[in-house]
């Protein structure tokens, strides 16, 4: 290789509210650039909104994480050859049917039907927060339990086991976790899922996993290991992401009282605010790695088959070409074309569940606790600079 990589990936934020400064530099100066990866390899980073959408929606980029050339974001890689594959690692034509098998569970209408139950869960957690000590930790009281309870109920996973998942999921996304520890955490949750599904086989209950057993059997496509892989994916994806969005957005609202006042005055604005929070934080941006499988030019740069690409959602979501004053938080901007959920065939399956949870949480939290305030300096908050999903470890609040 002749080019020297100017940057090492992943990069860390210097300000908790902004992407790593190098993102902007790359986006403005050399929007498709080479970066060094933790395992010594390199990949292209793609930083402009339009280019990110191209990478994520063009078949010349593969999502097959088991391919030996796939860019590895953690030392030692993450997947093993021969691991049960899930939809996120599949390409067309295999991907579509796998995704569509569960998609019916996540339609906008299905999510709407869950609204009353989610509201009940949120109210219950806020009751508990108010009854507990002051200051309280919003992460423990609200951010984590709400999405966990919801996804557990949807899947049919006993919530009593959530400490167990939480511990292992945290290991999966921490950058400092060793390959062995990550592998062990992965196998532990996968094994748990297989046992749980095995129990459901004789008499499939009316939950997502039970319905999948029935549906896949009808299609002659049922395999326990494969469903366990899907269940694992949904459980993990449903846990950490929404939780972190709840915590971070709460901080952002509390620091922007006019915008908070706007949603308090008109809850109809909360969904727009949710979109803006998703854009503003873009908590997962390195997950959208791809492997180029056929030469293609992106943003004026030729990318060759066999080269790795990181489509940086956070750089795209702060691209002034797509959003005016991108570093400002503005709930009225109309941010729906953000790529915080990715883009293209692999776009987040649970996005409308996430939207609904966030909408209900913000409407309820600020209505029921209008005096909510941070109980620590923003500078002292434990932001997750060491994880591949951004967030907060704790969020002390008072009221």
């Amino acid at each position: 290789m002749t080019t020297v990589e100017k940057h090492e990936f992943p990069m860390t934020r210097t300000c908790p509210f902004s992407p790593p400064p190098a993102y902007e530099e790359i986006r403005e100066e050399e929007p498709v650039s080479k970066v060094g990866l933790p395992d010594g390899g390199w990949a292209w980073v793609v930083t402009r909104h339009e280019d990110v959408r191209t990478v994520l929606n063009d078949r010349r980029f593969s999502a097959d994480r088991q391919h030996p050339d796939f860019p590895q974001l953690v030392k030692g890689g993450f997947r093993r050859q021969g691991d049960e594959r899930t939809m996120i690692t599949m390409d067309a034509p295999e991907h579509g049917p796998a995704r569509k098998a569960v998609l019916g569970e996540f339609t906008v209408r299905r999510m709407e039907a869950l609204r009353p139950r989610i509201q009940e869960i949120v109210d219950g957690q806020i009751d508990a927060l108010l009854a507990g000590p002051k200051p309280g930790d919003l992460v423990e009281a609200l951010s984590l339990p709400v999405p966990s309870l919801v996804i557990c109920e949807m899947l049919g996973v006993p919530y009593a086991d959530h400490d167990f998942f939480q511990t292992h999921t945290a290991k999966l996304i921490k950058r400092a976790t060793t390959p062995e520890e990550r592998r062990a955490a992965f196998d532990t949750i996968r094994g748990y899922m297989e046992d749980l599904i095995a129990e459901k086989e004789a008499n499939p209950p009316d939950d997502l996993l039970g319905r999948q057993i029935v549906k896949l059997r009808e299609d002659g496509a049922y395999r326990r290991a494969s469903l366990a892989a899907t269940g694992f994916l949904l459980l993990v994806a449903g846990h950490e992401t929404t939780a972190n969005m709840i915590s971070l957005s709460t901080v952002a609202f509390l620091r922007n009282p006019e915008q908070l006042a706007a949603i308090k005055a008109d809850p109809g604005k909360t969904l727009d605010a949710v979109e803006e929070m998703l854009r503003y934080w873009t908590i997962v941006d390195a997950a959208t790695a791809r492997l180029c499988v056929e030469d293609i030019e992106v943003g004026g740069q030729l990318i060759r088959a066999g080269e790795g690409v990181l489509a940086l959602g956070y750089a795209a979501n702060r691209d002034p070409r797509a959003f005016d004053d991108p570093d400002e938080l503005d709930i009225e901007r109309g941010a729906r074309h953000h790529v915080a959920f990715g883009f293209g065939p692999h776009q987040c399956l649970g996005q409308n569940l996430a939207r609904m949870e966030l909408q209900i949480v913000f409407d309820t939290l600020f209505r029921r606790i209008p005096t909510l305030a941070l109980a620590a300096d923003v500078d002292d908050l434990p932001f997750k600079d060491d994880a591949n999903i951004y967030g907060l470890y704790r969020l002390p609040v008072t009221w």
Binding site: N57, G96, R99, K100, A101, L103, G104, F106, T107, V108, R109, R336, H337, F341, G342, F343, G344, P345, H346, Q347, C348, L349, Q351, N352, R355
Partner: protein, 64 residues
């Protein structure tokens, strides 16, 4: 104007339904888009444009 949807490309994100439930629905079975009204008029024209803009798989097309 006519809305054309490619269910092969559709990834079932439901952005179209969120934009305008009068124009779009999703199949109960596999979540892919169902166009309820493919010839929108009046205010719905703008909504159709927005849906095309936010659709994450570029599965929607407007034939002017």
């Amino acid at each position: 104007m006519k809305i054309i949807a490619d269910t092969g490309k559709c990834v079932g994100a439901g952005q179209c339904v969120l934009t305008e439930p009068a124009l779009f629905d999703q199949s109960e079975d596999d979540g892919t888009v169902i166009v309820l009204d493919d010839q929108p008029e009046g205010e719905l024209v703008e909504k159709a444009r927005e849906a095309v803009h936010v659709c994450p798989s570029q599965a929607l097309l407007l034939q002017e």
